[in-house]
Amino acid sequence: MEEMNLLDRFEAYVADNKKVEPKDWMPDAYRKTLIRQISQHAHSEIVGMLPEGNWISRAPSLKRKAILLAKVQDEAGHGLYLYSAAETLGIDRDTMIEELLSGKAKYSSIFNYPTLNWADIGAIGWLVDGAAIMNQVPLCKCSYGPYARAMVRVCKEESFHQRQGYQILLTMTQGTAEQKAMAQDALNRWWWPSLMMFGPSDADSPHSATSMRWKIKHFSNDELRQRFVDMTIPQAEILGLTVPDADLKWNEERGHYDFGAIDWEEFYNVIKGNGPCNRERLAARRKAHENGAWVREAATAHANKRAAKTKAA
């Protein structure tokens, strides 16, 4: 009975757009949903460093290299803001890292695709970060305070990511025929995986309704995907590139672009671990974690030694 009252009060409270803070009472399902969503989001930032890290040593100029380094460093920072936000819900950092490295935890399927040429770095900034921004801006109003605050920081930083990516493609499309062809090839490969970033269609997204009622989400997957398409097509036109979708056309009546069917079989296949790079990504994370073990141990030993010295003095 008492539990019911708490739940009713909670529902009314979030329905009123009020914020929930770590020590407030919340339903178990709310806590679990947020832990899953925030930790997956954090893992995505961390694994997301890998496809781009692939090009740091091969960036075409020192300027591009410095910019890419700064972007990848931001992704690490975003992962850390998010892990901290998840920890306020009672899960500890080591558990989350273990879940990522064991393959139990999921991360965004987009990062299981390879970066084959420099134009891919442009396409990632423009499309992948663009789609991420579309998802993340509404999360700044999420009912859970620490997640919303982390998102405000992330969104402020992401806008440079998208602009630098678009500018890479702008430069390439104004270059030689080969460079323009590379840009088109990158768009061909990244377009559909970017649309998949918004998640399954609303009809196949059973938890969406609860997340919307709890004000974790404010828009459905399909709504955000449509907004992304509407915003991105004119940007592709400015680049002089063609979106790889024969069914794409402006629908005057709806005031939106109609677009072709998404290959959901591919999406679920990548989620299940069978994308082009799933194994490589996890292997790289595990190796980094194992190779860093001595650094963590040394830092702990150093801290203990210093603490003992301070005590003795």
């Binding site: 020590k23 080591d94 273990e98 605050r149 150093h302 603490a307």
Partner: protein, 95 residues
Amino acid sequence: MSKSNWPLWEVFIRSRQGLSHKHVGSLHAADAQMAIENARDVYTRRQEGMSIWVVPAAEITASSPDEKDELFAPSDDKIYRHPTFYDLPDVLKHM
């Protein structure tokens, strides 16, 4: 897998002289000095700060949200602490 078990630190940043330090988030570090260095990399990549405080999260004593009502009730019935409580004639400007 080895667990690091580094303590959690709450991070406070003064964005410019004249403003208070403000809570920005938290991070794990082996000791206070490492916490300061990590806080610089995680929370001030774009000139957001000129001073950093780090505090072990375990050292913070917080009021309980369950006792919020009793804790803050004493100020609820003292509306005379607000300037708008006093009804003064319109001819009186700037008070």
